[in-house]
Assembly symmetry: C2
Homo-oligomer: 414 residues x 2
Amino acid sequence: MNLEEMGSRALVASRVLASAGTAKKNMALEYIADALIESAGSILSANEEDVKAAKNAGTRASMIDRLTLTEERIKGIADGVRKVALLEDPVGKSDGGWQRPNGLKIQKVRVPLGVIGIIYEARPNVTVDAAALCLKSGNACLLRGGRDALRSNLELARIMRKAIAKAGLPEDCVQVLEDTSHETAQKMMKLNKYIDVLIPRGGRGLIRSVVENSTVPVIETGAGNCHVYVDESADIDMAVNIIFNAKTSRPSVCNAAETLLVHKNIAREFLPRAKEMLDKKHVELRGDELTREILGNSVVPATEEDWETEYNDYILAVKTVSSTDEAIAHINKYGTRHSEAIVTDSFANSQKFLREVDAAAVYVNASTRFTDGNEFGFGAEIGISTQKLHARGPMGLDELTTVKYQIIGSGQVR
Amino acid sequence: MNLEEMGSRALVASRVLASAGTAKKNMALEYIADALIESAGSILSANEEDVKAAKNAGTRASMIDRLTLTEERIKGIADGVRKVALLEDPVGKSDGGWQRPNGLKIQKVRVPLGVIGIIYEARPNVTVDAAALCLKSGNACLLRGGRDALRSNLELARIMRKAIAKAGLPEDCVQVLEDTSHETAQKMMKLNKYIDVLIPRGGRGLIRSVVENSTVPVIETGAGNCHVYVDESADIDMAVNIIFNAKTSRPSVCNAAETLLVHKNIAREFLPRAKEMLDKKHVELRGDELTREILGNSVVPATEEDWETEYNDYILAVKTVSSTDEAIAHINKYGTRHSEAIVTDSFANSQKFLREVDAAAVYVNASTRFTDGNEFGFGAEIGISTQKLHARGPMGLDELTTVKYQIIGSGQVR
């Protein structure tokens, strides 16, 4: 089936799904979870072929790991779907209502976006996560995963579509593109006629390409050049804990810290303590002059490029600053508006940081690693938006809806 | 000054403006209003040059009228600015806050978008309206108006910048591009480094071009192929009033009706009455077969193209349908998701219409002409969004903000 035809089917399905009740959508999600467990065998054998092909193509081990499904992982995916069924349905919620002097009654009501396109990379679990979140929020989805996971994705889609139909909803609510060519992805980015929103999930290159080529509105996700700023009044134990956690608990993710900023007045006391902890995980430090004076020449000299880099690795840039203002200026210059933290005991500095740092999530005395739909209490997330339009920060079900004004009159004209 | 430099200045100004208090922003708005009145002479003489040039270039009268400023119009513009000063400041409003089991306190706070780019056509009043709304909502703006109004726009900008500086805010909060070339507009659409959102205001061609070429996130405004559906249970007097108002009160605007849908069971009674009213304004009717059978051959036969066309003129397409479902299907196929109305006395049909019509504003028993920031009670509007992302329908000050999560901890790590 070609993309145009898939888009048209998605639109038709989205109209039915938009009016579907919560009970029916939850039933579809439960059927999907059941079916994933029951069909684990066929999923695993499709996945095995993907993994074999990837190995033959010389794909690196970390990618193979992300691609690989196991009985355990399938169970985890199914559990995730059941969790989505338990979440509150955002559709139909009122964002307020009022009456005008002429008697018109205006209600602002949450409705699904319509058709959501998702372009993503190798992990097959995204296929199910994204489909479940779209379904619960009343949106049809067009999923374009990576070539590496195609067999897995198609099998997962086949199973989900059957379960959706069993619940009495259109199976075209979920469609996976069989054609993973670059050309078709480009076409998808111009399919304004059928797709309401595109969400890219993956590496920087993928996201850049979607932002640059799409005429469909995009929600940009992903890049995180996050900072932890240790103010002169910081509790040193707390600051050591926070930077250690923010850097090393999972360096590959977007909410991990990439640069440590330290007030000069606390640097001599704090930096050796921080280094001692970071050494346990063999974190490579790249510092400015004062940092190297304090910590010694094992610290690599930092360059301009280091301030800009999202390492996603056991590397940390370190810069000393003379004030909270200087820290904020550095963050606003080099940050990607994702997650930024200050460790401080100064009320004034905490407020200044919260106010002036331009980012989706700004922390006082906590790790940047909490920027996450689950950690925020949303129950799930479709991604973390780093743009300012529509959604910012972790996107849960609410962020997969838009509004409609419903206006009740009694013959009013203007 | 080149665009890059202007963008960089806007960013710097936006940071200061984002932290400015409401009182200071209101003071700047009052100073702007005062200065517009005081400097009416210099504005009028700049405008006179624009008008003279446009006349020499053979610009048509309706465009000349939109371009022309008068003492009265300047007073109206200044009054508009004072009205914006009276509106509630959206910045700092909380969209909710909660505490997590680990003790993290999360607050979702409204903050300015940052730098807003606006690309618009000839009307110089937009320069002041847009600047005032951006200023009040804490956003710096880069305004790229039409070449025809350049002298007027530059003079308005000069006056506003002086007033802003007098209030102690950076004058670069408002900048008008001197270079109105196509190339520079194209560059502006790619200035992601400095511009957070682009809002095109103008004709369909302008909006299309921005949507297609911009990598900066866009809020699409404008196109309105709106319908009024007269259900079989409609009150005929009310229905006649509503279609007359929706079509003829101001045919050039986006919330005017373009197609009338009529249930077959009421068509013979309703259509002659509607025609009688519409004839008073010499509205040309283009109808389907049954409409022509009822109203006679003075009604032009409607073609597929008529269902798709936003006339913005005294022309109305008329189609008879057999059910509310057929009316909804027609609207969802041909509508531009702007404003749609049903006239009915059936509760079931009203609810079906409200639920199933996919549009920013859906009306029961009222004219589509109410889709407007002022009519909705927002006090002002920067445009009417016809996309689903970020904002839908009339955009007031709230829609010129985004959110920031502020998270307070006591040393939490993950």
